[in-house]
Symmetry: C2
Subunit: 391 residues, 2 copies
């Protein structure tokens, strides 16, 4: 199967990642940070090593500033729910995922409001939109680093600086960019970075990261045993214990550690270059097919990540993806991609889109086969429509 | 290494569990419930199969009543934070873990109060204590099924019935009992059951379950993309999507599924019998050693789970566990076990305890070696004390 659904999760994973998960389950499967015996200490070491590598990777202050979470959504909830209180206001971009939108929507009941600053392909305009959306009671700005549907990037470093000037905390959702676009926390005004461990960082599903670059800390959303200060009924206030309650996903974190090391070895610059070149090739080939609708300009490094959304005129996005799966053995995602605002912005709220996302394991041959498959589908769409309906 | 730290997490895991994790990572590593291609459908099937087996295991209404969470702590937070509002009162037992205590403590700021009903070895007294603690504004009772430190069981079915009579919701923390003590939701008045996937269910760390047996549903604590109703800014209200936001721990859940199947095949009755016999053997051997302090009566099936806490007179619990690790290659946990109330109740808040927890992989030979090691430590404690200090 040709897997171009890397926006949902990357596949395959590097061999080192799979091996680390397996090794941890077979040999080091004790609970980290709870007991003092050698297997538990080994488990703690694995956790710490991943924290250290993640801190180095994002250029965070210290390993303790790396918090492990179930997924990026949970990390975002930690920030949003931990910072915003009754009477507060938040600003988000018009490309946000439901992982940002739904927590904020739920907080309306608690007297928290939010505004949407429109994305524009012109960075100046985007910055203006954010500036205009900030109010005296704005406490937090949350912005995706790049759209999970259309791949376009937002100038998060500039928005972060704008927020710092206005005394507003800034959180970036780097789910689609970590591992592809370099981020240096120490060199930016980003306060909180949330990301998935299982996408561009090539870790297993069930891993997310909240990297903290702020003195102001969100209140904890989930409290429980931390293996520290056990006699205290209050959640410890120190990092990372403040946010890490209960048993962590040790095998997942062991895998994530290898994923981060894999990306560090390849370097994000090289990954970005490789994937951008492939994405451009794909875009140009799709662009030449008359019935194909594309929604963005040609992908450019520094302006977008290798995510391309399209449709074939006369076919639903779901039909196209079903035909790709059944007849061409190609995996993509279709429909709405948990980001209704982004679809509204690009006018695809009714049609959805077929989304292709590349990874370091994608090849030119796969891209060419994909493009020729789309050409075939476009040519025989009437006949192939039945394939989709028959299922 | 002899691993008697199964209260923290069980080790080893059944081979089928490790294999399922590895297989999922290697062959079915797509995001479940997001895309429509065959690999994603296979991933969804794995999730559903685990839900189905867990529902059957706990005798829940339907697979949808099984919610996957990061760990038991998260599941407990989902219930506690999702049910209790300002002005509400909760009741907990005196044996609760910090996973219950700390969320409640944090909610004091939001005007939520809680009372503690004392555990008693006499069930009638325990029931009386719970009855007396219930107030007109009591909305939720949370009770551990068995103490994670001392192994003693609480009569949760009876407390559940009491709660139903008083119109109070009841949540059981089955972290230490699921997989050892049978629980049938349909036959009980338990509204919410929270448990870890990586203890008696033999799944990987990073898995927890919230099983719902109530028409009244907690509000969701974490919102985000669910792969369903994507155009809706509100979190879906249906189960399990209501509580499952973002990418789940698919490899972990695949492993958990095999763990549950492993327990179902062995049957909990047989597991309970096997572990109780071993625990009794261990208890009796320890009891004969003059310097050993035990805190509970002899373990009995239906009255306790195979968790034994003890100390050696003249040694800190940490010292004993360090000596066990360094000199005898035995893994146990020492200190306070994230359950300060339980330690207060048994008078071990200063000393902590050495905790041994058995699993189906524990053997009589291990128990005998363990007991003889304790005998040796007790005999040469002055000399061995140095071992602990030297580290």
């Amino acid at each position: 199967m040709i897997y171009f659904d890397n926006g949902a999760t990357t596949f395959p994973k590097p061999r080192s990642v799979v091996n680390a998960v397996e090794r941890t389950m077979r040999y080091y499967g004790a609970n980290p940070g709870r007991s003092g015996h050698k297997m538990s200490l080994k488990a703690s070491e694995i956790m710490y090593d991943c924290r250290k590598n993640a801190a180095e990777f994002f250029n965070a202050d210290s390993p303790e500033n790396i918090v492990f979470a179930y997924n990026c959504t949970t990390a975002l909830n930690f920030v949003i729910k931990g910072i915003l209180k009754e009477g507060d206001h938040a600003v988000i971009s018009s490309l946000e995922h439901n992982a940002v939108l739904r927590p904020l929507e739920s907080m309306k009941e608690n007297g928290v409001e939010y505004s949407i600053a429109d994305y524009s392909p012109d960075d100046e305009e985007t910055i203006d939109n954010f500036r205009n959306a900030i109010r005296p009671n704005t406490k937090l700005v949350i912005c995706t680093h790049a759209s999970n549907v259309f791949g376009v990037k937002l100038p998060v470093e500039r928005i972060a600086a704008l927020c710092r000037i206005h005394g507003v905390l800034f959180c970036v959702d780097a789910a689609q960019t970590a591992g592809v676009v370099p981020i240096s926390l120490k060199d930016s005004c980003i306060d909180f970075l949330c990301t998935a461990g299982h996408k561009g960082l090539y870790g297993p599903m069930g891993t997310g990261i909240l990297a903290i670059n702020s003195e102001i800390l969100p209140e904890s959303l989930i409290q429980g045993g931390t293996g520290s200060f056990s006699s205290d009924r209050k959640q410890p206030s120190i990092l990372p214990d403040r946010y890490e309650s209960g048993t962590p996903n040790l095998p997942g974190i062991a895998g994530l550690n290898e994923g981060i090391k894999f990306v560090m070895k390849k370097t994000e610059r090289n990954i970005e270059k490789y994937e951008s070149d492939l994405a451009l090739r794909l875009y140009q080939k799709l662009k030449k097919i008359p019935g194909v609708l594309l929604y963005t300009d040609s992908p450019k490094p520094h302006r977008s990540v290798p995510v391309i959304s399209f449709n074939i005129d006369g076919l639903d996005s779901e039909e196209t993806s079903t035909i790709l799966d059944k007849r061409f053995n190609i995996a993509v995602r279709a429909g709405l991609h948990c980001a209704p605002l982004a679809h509204e912005f690009f006018g695809t709220q009714d049609s959805g889109t077929v989304r292709t996302v590349l990874s370091v394991f994608s090849t030119r041959e796969q891209v060419d086969y994909f493009a020729s498959s789309i050409m075939t589908i476009n040519k025989f769409k009437k006949e192939l429509k039945k394939v989709a309906i028959d299922i």
